[in-house]
Amino acid sequence: MQRYIINRLLQGAVLLVIVTTIVFAVGRLTGNPVDLILPEEASEQERQDMIETLGLNGPIHEQFLVFVADAMRGDLGISIRYRLPATDVFFSRLPNTLLLMPAAIILAVLMAIPLGIVSALRRGGATDRISGTIAVLGIATPNFWLGILLIYIFSVKLGWLPSSRMGGWTHYVLPTVTLGTFLVAGFMRLIRSSMLEILDSEFVKLARIKGLGELQVIWKHCLRNSLIPVLTLWGVFMGGLVTGAIVTETVFAWPGIGRLTYEAVLFRDYPLLQAVIIMDAVLILFINLMVDILYAYVDPRIRYA
């Protein structure tokens, strides 16, 4: 188990190095960030000051070392718009996203498990066909548009739910559904197909021969196994969740790190965007590590491999 975790940590470190290097390289090689940040009429002195604050002076390998050394100490530069350390801005917004993401995951789990199981048990039945349609639609609908559609139906037309910002539980409904839809679709498909496989397996046949009730077979023998593919593919879902949060938080003016990413792009706040990307990588790696540990707990084959 220890070796497994250390292995995962090393893989995470590799990813972090790759992300940091790319962020650094993109900023330095694809043009001068100073030109994007400063207005055209800026004086030469202002330009020099900006080059100084962004750490763009000196040869490129020195810049890189300084960049990495600063990053290791948690210093990812000063946000131009907020005039605060970029990591501070990130951490002030992080809690709001950490409320929204689990809500979307819980919604997805609560919907996908029963629907996936019933679809597999009654293959070709009404539930199977309806949830199949939901999955196909859920994957095809871009979530920024889904959010706007939901606002139009439930806020503008029906007036049932608030359309933006944070607040009581009603504020969570639309963003959660918007962010959770692609997860629901993805989980449902995975659980359905792994259930179909498991229902056909030897150990389920044995459980049935032993005379166990249908409910017990599904609950004790199938469910846990059918969740394994969801955990295996978690990395892909996590990436989608971060992408989805950017769009969803933008649509609903939700003050989390997704909305912060959008603001950094909108205001061309280059140091902030750079910091958000690196911190997102750290966040993703941390959550993926948690899921990997959970994975090893659910599936002993991983632990001892």
């Binding site: 095809a140 609908t141 769009v247």
Partner: protein, 274 residues
């Protein structure tokens, strides 16, 4: 055998037709503003007119005209991105699978990293450092695509390279490059074509999302994602601004996904497990 997905083909056909002939299909310009006629609703609404079937936007531009020209933008971005991103993925997949060893494990590490870390963040970074434009957008979306192509193609190549005709080519004295280009490449083209189709939907959504976030093609060029973004603030008074282009995106993506599924089942059923 599954039936041909006629509805999908019809929608895709309509989109391609609109993209090719957009300027001939409508008398209006997608860019010129006409402020006195701004925010007219579609014809079936009380204040709508037959002159602008789907209404006009905040600058008085005809929605239908912008939608048709938007199809053009969408298809241009999609083809270029698939060509670049898919091509890079194809090359990496072949090299990784055929050469194997350290090269393979290095490239596959990169692929894993690309899957873990959302490419859209790099796309946004590129839009800020390089500025918005077609080139930036194509590079950004290619970043999103290459890893998926590389992983699948590599798998195919691993199986292919054990086959007798490859051994024969080696005995014959073919160089590694020649084997990859003339013996491996043609045999993965089927899979490549299926992958291209399966990825069209992803590209269209990515293009629309980036435009929506202000990192796509800059205005006033009509892009569907940009149209949704521009109409977002007016959702209470002018629903058609955002909802109509969104319907177009969803329908087209749906059509390409269903068509891609059909193509996969027809030509490359082993991709099914993916």
């Amino acid at each position: 055998m599954r039936r041909l997905p006629w509805l999908s083909i019809l929608i895709i056909g309509a989109m391609v037709f609109a993209a090719l002939f957009a300027p001939l299909l409508t008398p209006y310009s997608p860019i010129e503003q006409s402020l006195p006629e701004k925010l007219l609703p579609p014809f079936w609404e009380a204040k709508g007119t037959g002159k602008y079937i789907l209404g006009t936007d905040i600058f008085g531009r005809d929605m239908l005209t912008r939608l048709l020209h938007g199809a053009q933008i969408s298809l241009i971005v999609t083809s270029l991105s698939l060509l670049v991103g898919g091509g890079v993925g194809l090359a990496i997949g072949i090299v990784s699978g055929y050469i194997g060893g350290r090269v393979d494990s290095f490239l596959m590490r990169l692929v894993d990293a690309a899957f873990t870390f959302p490419a859209i963040l790099f796309a946004l970074l590129l839009a800020v450092t390089m500025g918005q434009g077609l080139g930036t957008l194509v590079i950004a979306i290619s970043l999103l695509l290459w890893a998926g192509f590389a992983r699948v193609i590599r798998g195919e190549v691993l199986a292919l390279k054990e086959r007798d005709f490859i051994a024969l080519a080696k005995v014959h004295g073919c160089s590694e490059l020649r084997i990859m280009v003339t013996h491996i490449l043609p045999n993965v083209m089927n899979t490549f074509m299926v992958l291209l189709t399966l990825n069209v939907g992803i590209v269209i959504v990515a293009e629309a999302s980036l435009s929506f976030l202000g990192a796509g093609i800059p205005p006033p060029t009509p892009s569907w994602g940009l149209m949704v973004a521009e109409g977002r603030g007016k959702i209470t008074s002018a629903w058609w601004l955002s909802l109509i282009p969104g319907i177009a995106i969803t329908l087209v993506v749906l059509a390409f996904n269903l068509f891609g599924d059909w193509l996969r089942d027809r030509f490359d059923p082993k991709l099914r497990q993916l």
